[in-house]
């Protein structure tokens, strides 16, 4: 283990670190938006769109991100749709993450207890009022743990961006290994870099889960 090698590589890794953060943040934000819309279309069983949303979720969840990216990056240009690698990465992450987030929201909505829904109905609520006052507020709170798990999952998935040469963390490490053959040093920095992102974040998310749970259900 050569510490000088590590030290010299830090500026490169810092760039990759930033890019990983930025791509993750954009992808996750987009995925949350897609997830909310898709889960609502499914919850309200909107004709046509609800079914399409269901199909989208199954396709996106049951295929690897790598193939989704290859499609975007290598196959779409043949049809005249050309995006930069980073754009492909974000689109891919939103496509994959949107489906996972939608499942998270749907799980929350379905997790609202039947007795809660019935008390709403017994008060004369229609379907829309039930959603607005009972299912959505409680369902969103219930979905937080799943959403938090998805956030962690999606950040880790950005490592796959290295296959389309986006210089994020993993790609940076692989490039450096290719140039200088110091695999131990660079892999160590790489693992530590992910730990720096993911350990504090998962602690924060666990805290958030508890807060939301308590604020909504009091336990």
């Amino acid at each position: 283990m050569d510490w000088a090698v590590i030290q010299q590589s830090l500026p490169e890794f810092a760039k990759g670190f930033q890019l990983t953060l930025w791509l993750s943040a954009s992808g996750i934000a987009g995925a949350l938006v897609v997830g909310v819309v898709v889960s609502l279309l499914r919850y309200f069983q909107v004709p046509v769109l609800g079914r399409l949303s269901g199909a989208y979720v199954e396709v996106a969840r049951n295929t690897p991100l790598l193939i989704q990216l290859f499609f975007l990056y290598y196959a779409f240009p043949v049809l005249g749709l050309k995006f930069s690698a980073a754009t492909c990465g974000i689109i891919g992450l939103v496509f994959l993450g949107g489906a996972y987030m939608a499942e998270g929201f749907t799980g929350g909505f379905n997790g609202v207890s039947q007795t809660q829904v019935e008390s709403g109905r017994a008060l004369g609520m229609n379907q829309w009022q039930l959603a607005r006052y009972v299912v959505l507020p409680q369902g969103l709170a219930l979905s937080v743990p799943a959403l938090a798990a998805n956030v962690i999952f999606l950040i880790k998935e950005t490592s796959i961006f290295s296959v389309i040469a986006i210089p994020e963390l993993t790609n940076t490490a692989l490039d450096l290994i290719g140039l200088y053959y110091r695999s131990n040093e660079y892999l160590l920095v790489l693992v530590v870099a992910y730990a720096i992102i993911l350990i504090p974040l998962s602690l924060l998310l666990t805290w958030l889960e508890r807060r939301v749970r308590y604020a909504t259900f009091g336990d």
């Binding site: 199954e58 396709v59 969840r61 049951n62 295929t63 690897p64 991100l65 790598l66 193939i67 989704q68 290859f70 499609f71 290598y74 196959a75 043949v78 049809l79 962690i152 880790k156 998935e157 490592s159 796959i160 290295s162 296959v163 993993t170 490490a173 692989l174 290994i177 695999s183 131990n184 892999l187 790489l190 693992v191 992910y194 730990a195 993911l198 350990i199 998962s202």
Partner: protein
């Protein structure tokens, strides 16, 4: 169109080659699952014991695999296994089995632990009241209930492993994607849209394997709710 891209699939042995790659993918996933689930069940059971050192060690093991992306795990195996065990000629596919197997073991240990702890106390106590020892309790009371409870999560883990095999090409395993890329490159000039069809077929391969599994998991989970 004289050279419609779809024909690239029927050129020479291309389809057979792709299916061969799929087979590589499948056996690596299957082997990693068998290894990982066995090891994970053991680790999960150990994590329910009181020994603090054991618990901390196993917890750290789990957290390591939670933090490190699978791509990175593959490269760790690729670079470190030969160095640690002084073997030079271990094929990439075996390193993938090791990396995925250890990863599955970590994830499954947490599933097993959760399931064992969720078996109600009175079940445990009625087992003890029947004069069972610890092993009999585990074998006849806890394990069967836990397995049933966690089958959906386990199936979902399997679908993740299958999807993760898409990364095999990164360490030069001749999996379905790697072969697909070779076919695309070899036919680039004749079939310009071939790339679309080859990736399309691979996409469908994955979907056809994973979709029924996740539906199965969903159905089981829904049944358990009632």
């Amino acid at each position: 169109m004289p050279h419609s891209g779809i024909n690239v699939l029927f050129e020479g042995h291309n389809l057979v080659r792709l299916l061969g790659g799929l087979w590589t993918t499948v056996w690596i996933a299957a082997l990693a699952l068998v290894l990982g689930l066995s090891l994970g069940a053991l680790l999960g059971a150990l994590r329910t014991l009181k020994n603090p050192v054991l618990r901390l060690g196993l917890r750290l093991y789990l957290e390591f695999f939670r933090i490190v992306p699978t791509v990175v795990l593959l490269f760790l195996a690729y670079y470190l296994v030969p160095e640690l065990f002084h073997v030079d000629s271990l094929p990439g596919s075996w390193m993938a089995v090791i990396a995925f197997g250890l990863w599955v073991a970590a994830e499954f240990s947490d599933i097993v632990r959760g399931a064992l702890l969720s078996v109600p106390v009175h079940q445990r106590e009625s087992g003890l009241a029947l004069g069972m020892n610890r092993w009999q309790l585990f074998r006849y009371v806890l394990l069967p209930q836990a397995l049933k409870l966690e089958l959906p999560a386990t199936i979902n883990l399997a679908t993740r492993v299958i999807k993760t095999t898409s990364l095999l090409m990164l360490i030069s395993v001749m999996d379905v994607i790697n072969i697909g890329q070779q076919i695309i490159e070899a036919n680039n000039t004749t079939y310009r849209t071939g790339v679309f069809w080859v990736y399309g077929v691979i996409f469908i391969f994955y979907f056809v394997v994973d979709y029924p599994l996740s539906r199965w998991a969903q159905r089981l989970a829904a049944q358990q709710k009632v």
